[in-house]
Every structure is written in C-alpha cells, then in structure tokens.
Symmetry: C2
Subunit: 362 residues, 2 copies
Amino acid sequence: MKDCCTLAIDAMGGDAGVDVTVPGTRMALERHADLRVLLFGDSATLEAQVAGFPAPLRQRLEVRHAEVAIRMDEKPSQALRKGRRVSSMWLALEAVREGEAHAAVSAGNTGALMAMSLFVLKPMAGIKRPAIAGLWPTMRGHSIVLDLGATIGADAEQLVDYAIMGEAMARSLLHIEQPSVGLLNVGVEEIKGVEEVRRAGRILREAVLPIRYHGFVEGDDIAKGTVDVFVTEGFTGNIALKTAEGTARQISDFLKRELRATWLTRLGALLARRAFRRLKEKLDPRANNGGIFLGLNGIVVKSHGGTDSLGFANALTHAREVALYDLVDKINQDLAAKKLMAEFLDSRQENGKPPLRAYGAS
Amino acid sequence: MKDCCTLAIDAMGGDAGVDVTVPGTRMALERHADLRVLLFGDSATLEAQVAGFPAPLRQRLEVRHAEVAIRMDEKPSQALRKGRRVSSMWLALEAVREGEAHAAVSAGNTGALMAMSLFVLKPMAGIKRPAIAGLWPTMRGHSIVLDLGATIGADAEQLVDYAIMGEAMARSLLHIEQPSVGLLNVGVEEIKGVEEVRRAGRILREAVLPIRYHGFVEGDDIAKGTVDVFVTEGFTGNIALKTAEGTARQISDFLKRELRATWLTRLGALLARRAFRRLKEKLDPRANNGGIFLGLNGIVVKSHGGTDSLGFANALTHAREVALYDLVDKINQDLAAKKLMAEFLDSRQENGKPPLRAYGAS
C-alpha cells in the first residue's frame, strides 16, 4: 500500500446517488494525478456514466458491481441485514480491509456506514468506540473538532484517545507539526465541567504524551480557532456543530433578505458583491465536506448526503490526504506510545514511586 | 406584592460596576412608569450618581447601603464567606426573599450569584437544581433555551422540570399562550441520544402535562426557531450558546474585513448600510441580555458582566416582564399539577391499571 492513493467509493450513497458521486469522482481524478478509484455500485449504471470520461481518467478508475444500495432512511440494523457482503457500502469498506484501497468514501446514511465500518474494519486495539472528526472553519483558518456524534458519552480515557487521534488528523490534514489540543468545557465558575472532562484534563497535562495540551476551552473558542484540535464527547459535539451551522445559515439568510429590501441596499450589494462572494465561500459547507471516522482499522470518510459533486470531490481530496499521511499507522504508533508510557508509570507506581499522572487509574 | 414591579439591583456587579448599572437603571425607569428599584451598593457612591436624576425618577428609586462588593474573579466559596449578609449581591437577593422586591438583577459573577441565590432563595419544592434560561434570536423571532450552564448533567425528571419552567417563561416573556417545547438530541441514526433524553421524551409525550411537546430537535433547529422552548442539560446548553455566539462574531468580523477590502466594496457597504445596521441590531447581544435563574423561590436575572447601560436596562426590562407575570407562582402551579398527575397515575398503577406514562419511575 505504498503508492498513494486508491479510494474505494460507495457510488450509490447520498441523496442524489451516482448523479453526484460520479461527476465528483471525475473532478477528484482531474485534481490528483496520483489518485485511483474503485467505484462500487450497479455496474450497468456506472459503466454508462463513466463511458464519457477521457481515457487518462478512465484508466485510473475501476467499476465493481454491487447488487444492493443502502437507502438513506434505512436503520443500521436493516442495512446490515440487507447489505452485508452485497451492498456498495459494504464492498467499499471490504476493499479497505483487504488492502485494495487506502480509504473508503460514502455519502450514504451515517448510522449504516458507522455500523458497517465497525463490522468490517473493527475498532483499533485499545479503542472502545470510534469518533467522527470534522474540519471547522475558524477566524485563524481551520480546526478539527471531534467527536461530532459517533459515540454518546465518553469517559476520561476515551477523551484522551480522541485527543491523540485528533492530533494525528491535524498533522495530516492541517499540515501542522505540533497541533495544540483543547478540551471543551463550560466556564461557569461554580462547576467547571463534568468529572470526566476534568480527569481527561489531568491526564493530558500530567501524562508525558507527545501532545501540546492547551487546557480547557469554551464554545466560543472554536470560532476563534484557539486550538487546532477541539475534543468533546459526541452528544455535545454534534449539537455544537449543528448549532453553528444553523447560526451561519440564519445570519446569511437574514442578510440576504435585508440586502434585497430597498433599491439602495440592492445597489450596495451589487457593488460589494466581492465581499459577499468571499463570505459565501467561507461559509460553503462543501469546502469542509467529509467527516472522518477515527479509531477503526482503516479510514472511512463520510460525505454529507446532500452535497453536490464539488462537495463530494472535496471529501475525496480529504480522504486522499489522510491516506497519504498513513493516518491509521500514525495513530497506532501514538496509541502504542501512550500504552508504553502507561505501563512504565504503572511499574513506577508498583515500585513505590509516586505516580506521575492519573492515566489508567479509574 | 401585587403592585408591579420593584427590582432589587446589585449596583456594584459587572465589569464596569456603577458606571453601567446606574445609567442602565435610569433608562429602565424612563421606559417603565410602573417600575420601582432598590439600588444596593456603596451609598455614598450611589447617592452621588443618582443626584442628577429628575425628581419623578428619583422618587421611584431607593439607595440601600452595602459594605461589600463581590469581585468578578472571586470563587463562589470566597464570595459566600466574604459577602454573606453584607454584600450588594446578597442584600439584593434578600430583598426578594423578604418580599420587598419582585426580582433581583445582577451583572456580577455568575458562580457567586448562583451560589448566593441557592443560599438565600432556596430551590423550589421538588426542584433539585436550578437552570439558567436565555432568550435566543431565531429566524422566526425568539426562543428560550435552557439550561445554559447552571447545572451539569440532568436526569430525565430534571429535563421534564426544565420543560415545565421554560414553558412558563415562554408564556411570560414571549407572550405565547401555548408555547411548543422540544428536547435537544442528536440525529445520528444508530444512537438517537442519551438514555435520559429519551426517557424525558417518553415522559413528556405520555404524561398528561399541559405542555405542547414537539419531540426531539437538533442543534440547527435552534436558529430555525422550530420550537419556542429548547430543553437540554447545562453542559451541552452552555457549549451550544457559546459556539453560536462565536460563530456570529466570526461571520460579522469576516464580513467587516471583506467590506473594507476595496473602494468598491466600501462604497457598496455605504449604500447598503441599512442592511448592515439591521444585521447588527439582530446580532446585538444587548437585546437579549439577561439569563434567568429558574427553579428558585424568587426571580434572579443575571446580566452579562461586560454589557453597557442599554444592555443592563434590557435585563431590567426582562426582569420586570417575568415579575409582572408572577413567573414563580405560575411555575409552582405547574409543578403542583405535575405532582398531582404523577400521584394519580401512581395510584392507578397500584390499583392494577396499566401505567399511562413513565414519570416518577426511575
């Protein structure tokens, strides 16, 4: 798996299916000369769709037949029953497990994709449950936020694992050598957060992990980009993400309406259109499309189901970057280092030396 | 306490203290002819500040001396030790307890104010821990969101109590006869939220409470204003609020920068300035200033510590409105109705009838 990169694509996933995934794949092949793709889905449909591709692109693409397409509204249990070994989603994941592809990408339903990913790729050794990590546009550029809703309720050790995985992802996607990591917490004096968050903070501060731990951060630090990696439990992470998306949409809708209100504001909007175009680009969810499942023995990228071909192409670009970086290997190394450190500190403690940190002590 | 309204004001609280609270109080007295205030703080300072007030305002204002002012950075425990019975914050709360005022307002530190409120006013019968509720501007107008961080981690019964209290607050502040209530949850198929949220949902759906329960809502529903009252646990609520505030600031900062970029965008911004003024008003945190502590035997309104006199005046207006509505009495009636309902259903269950709902069963 050294020559980068082959992506396994669930071509049937997403609200618009092949009408988005195939043109998106074409864009990504045009962007990256080193990219190869395996397209899983109904082969007749797919062959017809890619027939018009120029030969140099067509050569880097292989269609693989899948009998079944998972619907967007299917429950994970239904999807597993119906799609095991035969669906485009499952087969794309299997290609990663078998070493044929470096990452799988799907715009299909999140619950089904997570359930199948757990089934096919299995969690990494030492990881209890995976997380979904996303790119978040900030005032300083981009940060990574996780967990965006893969797992609900995380204990201190899970939060530390998220920190390790998110940090590796920041190195690969944001190209930062030593990303800073913060734990989301609340600022009200009296309470200062849940016990698990406080414990995770102690572990990250006291453990000799190779992580630049910043400390606690609050909700408004995300937009400021105070740290490169924001770590929180999945319930809060999911609600924070959707609240921010809702707020951004609310403001741009409001502004659009107000700019249309009089002929003067309409003229002003016309003259200042460069500023609005830049704002639109900044807020464009397609630019940051692609949540990355972390903590599995393989990379899975979840594209937004309602995105268009440009958004899907961006998800493929993100998948290529984390694959280029060997993200799974890097995380495994970091987790192994953490384990060694914990064992060393445990033995130190057994020998009557004072503990250096709380990690592993529950 | 029938003639509305007397507010007890901690004049020493907030980043700027009397320089904001006194002019803010003056604005509120000018706005509301029925308003009376008790101003707690250093009497020499306060008397000097209010000396210039016109007589009709001065007559509705009484200065009461307090030896001690609680600092913004003091821990709740410190504040209690130092400020008990002698601080402007404590004495304002005491005025509510003694029936001299209908509500207390402070821009002082949140942790200290919550600790003192619990001490002086005590939680309502049947309420374990109070919540902080706030007004949230939406695409449809305003909604109420709680808990914004008073209490971390709520069980199902606490969430139901938040629903009851938030609903009463929506009736008083939003003037809606039958406000709709939603429980914040995550939308990822596989997991569908924490057990406590699901249980609270069952209780609200099945219990015969006089509440228009909408169901689960997601983070982006807040900006849409899908329901009038959004209920969640304090950790998530606090992070959602600050994430939204951060996002709004990020977008307006970005837009400001882009509008200054060229002479054309500057001209456009000038012509369309009406739209930007309206956006600024819409996003103005002063308009929604004043988090309301719910679940205590008395009303306490927490103004933002960094607000100006207009913001402080708005917090006083909100305090007046909930006092006018007899919010505490209304919540007590609703809680009593809930308790009666639970007893009726319990007796029904004891008599071998099938349970109608899960409330009270833990």
